[in-house]
Amino acid sequence: MIEFDRVTKRFPDGTKALKEVSLTLPASRLTVIIGPSGCGKTTLMKMINKLEKPSSGDVLISGRSIADLEDVQLRRSIGYVIQRIGLFPHMTILDNVMLVPKLLGWDKDKRKKRALELLELAGLDAEVFADRYPLELSGGQQQRVGVIRALAGDPKILLMDEPFSALDPISREQLQDEFRKLQKDIRKTIIFVTHDMDEALKIADFLVVMREGEVEQTGTPQEVVAQPANDFVREFIGTERIERQRTFNLQQLHEFRFLFTAGKAAEVLPIAGSATIEHAFEALEASGSSLLAIELEDGEIVYAGHRELMQAALAAGKGERHGQLS
C-alpha cells in the first residue's frame, strides 16, 4: 500500500506541480494515474521512488515513510519503466535485464537464470534476443524488455510512466493485453501513468484522475465512468464513452458470452443471461461477491467479474457482438 499524506511539490520557479495531495493506492493492484499533460501525474509517481521529493508532506510505503529510506536502495526495490525506450543502447538485452540483479549483488548464475526466465515470460526467444542490442529490436520488443527489466529484481512495486504511448497502435494494444495477463500472474503493486483514457479503462483496477496538481476523483474504472465526480472528469472521460455505457447497460448478458470464463474461482452470484449489464453491475455491487454466474439461454453457466462486465460494456460501444466472436 502506498500513501500520500498532504504531498505538495513546488518547483524552484514557483509553479506548484502538486497541491496537498492525500491519496492511498491499493497494494497488489494496478493503479492508473490519468490526467492531461502537466497535471502532475508523473511528478506524483516519481515521488514513490524519490526521483522527485516532496516540498512538504510525506509518502509512505507499507506504513513506512520513505523519507527515512536511502534513495538508491529504495529505487533498487522498485521497478521502473519509462516512456522513451530507456534501455541502455550499448548493453545487450541480457545485460540490460540483468542490471538491477547485478546492482543488488546477485551472483552471476542466478541473475542470468532470472533474465532468461523473464525473456521467456515476455515471449522473447532467449537464443535470438539475449545477445542482441536494443536498437536491433522493434519498439514493441524493446518495451517488452523494458518491462521485464523492471521486474528483474522481483520488486513489489512497479512504476510505469506512459510505457506504451510511444508505440504504434497495434503493438500498444498487444502489449496492454499481455501486460494485463502478466499482472494476473505476478500481482504486483503497479502505478501506471497515462493520458490515454482507453488504455486506463482497459487495464486499471483503480483509477486516479488528476488535474493541475490535484486529485479530481479516485475509484474503480466502473465507478468513475458511471459517476464522474465533476464536469472535468466527465469531459475527460469523454461523453462518448459515458453514452456508450448508457446504451450498453441495457444490453443483455447473452450477447457477451465470448468475454466470460467457463470456470469459477470465487464466491459467485447466479444471474440470468437475460439480465442487462446495468442490472448485473448493480447485483454484483449489492452482493459483495466477486463473480457472477451467468446462465445462458442454452443452459451453460459462464462466469464474469467486474472486469469482464466492463469489457462487455466497452465492447458494446464498439459494436462487437458474440455472433462475430464466439
Binding site: 526521483l51 529505487r75 548493453m91 546492482l103 536498437l135
Partner: protein, 212 residues
C-alpha cells in the same frame, strides 16, 4: 629529388633525433592534456555552472597565437622543453575538454533517468552509461588535440626544446628548401599516422550497440 635523398641520408641521425624529440613532446603533451581535461570534462558535465567559465578559459588560450604563447612563457619558465610542453598542453586542453563535456551531456537524458530510477549511483551511471556512450566523442577530441599538438610542436624550436622544428628552422635560415622539407615531411607523416591510429581506436571504442 636525388639531392633530397642524399641530404636525408647524410643527416639521418639528426632527423631521427629531432623526430624522436618531436614524438616525445607531442606524446607527453597529449597524455598530460588527457589527464587534466578528461576529469575536468567529467566535472563540468556534472556541475554545469562551471562549464562555461572553464571551457571559456581554455578557449581563450586557444585563441592566443601559438608563437606568442611560447613567447609569453619564456620569461616565466625560461627556455627548454618544460616551456614547450606547457604551451602544448594548453593547446591540447580545449579539444579534449570540450568533447568530453559534449559527449557526456548529449547522452540521452531518458537513459540517465532510467539508470537513476533503477537505483544506480552517480558513479555507476558515469562509469557504466555516460562514459561508454561518450567515448567516441572523447576519442575524437583526443584525435583533434593530437594532430594539433604535432603541428604546433614545430614551434618548440624557438624555446630551445628541439623537435622537427629545429630542422625546418635551420633550413629556412640557410635557404635550404631540401632541409625544410626534411623537417616538414616527418611532421606530416607523424600527424597523419597519429590520426589514422586514433581514428581506428575511435571506431573501435564506439559501443557495439550504437553501430546500427
Amino acid at each position: 629529388m636525388a639531392n633530397f635523398l642524399e641530404l636525408v641520408s647524410a643527416r639521418q641521425d639528426m632527423i631521427l633525433d629531432a623526430f624522436m624529440e618531436h614524438l616525445y613532446l607531442s606524446f607527453i603533451a597529449v597524455a598530460v592534456g588527457i589527464v587534466i581535461s578528461l576529469p575536468l570534462g567529467i566535472f563540468v558535465a556534472r556541475y554545469r555552472k562551471f562549464a562555461e567559465p572553464i571551457i571559456g578559459v581554455t578557449a581563450v588560450f586557444q585563441t592566443i597565437p601559438s608563437l606568442a604563447l611560447f613567447g609569453f612563457l619564456v620569461p616565466i619558465l625560461g627556455i627548454g622543453s618544460t616551456t614547450a610542453l606547457v604551451a602544448l598542453i594548453i593547446y591540447a586542453l580545449l579539444p579534449i575538454l570540450r568533447n568530453t563535456f559534449t559527449g557526456i551531456t548529449t547522452v540521452d537524458q531518458s537513459i540517465i533517468e532510467a539508470g537513476r530510477g533503477m537505483g544506480m549511483t552517480r558513479t555507476q551511471i558515469l562509469r557504466q552509461i555516460e562514459l561508454p556512450l561518450a567515448l567516441p566523442f572523447i576519442m575524437a577530441g583526443i584525435r583533434t588535440a593530437t594532430v594539433l599538438t604535432v603541428g604546433i610542436a614545430t614551434l618548440a624550436t624557438f624555446v630551445g626544446a628541439g623537435g622537427l622544428g629545429d630542422i625546418i628552422y635551420r633550413g629556412l635560415q640557410s635557404y635550404n628548401n631540401g632541409l625544410v622539407l626534411a623537417g616538414a615531411l616527418p611532421v606530416a607523416i607523424l600527424a597523419i599516422g597519429f590520426d589514422l591510429v586514433l581514428k581506428w581506436i575511435e571506431k573501435k571504442s564506439t559501443p557495439k550497440g550504437l553501430k546500427m
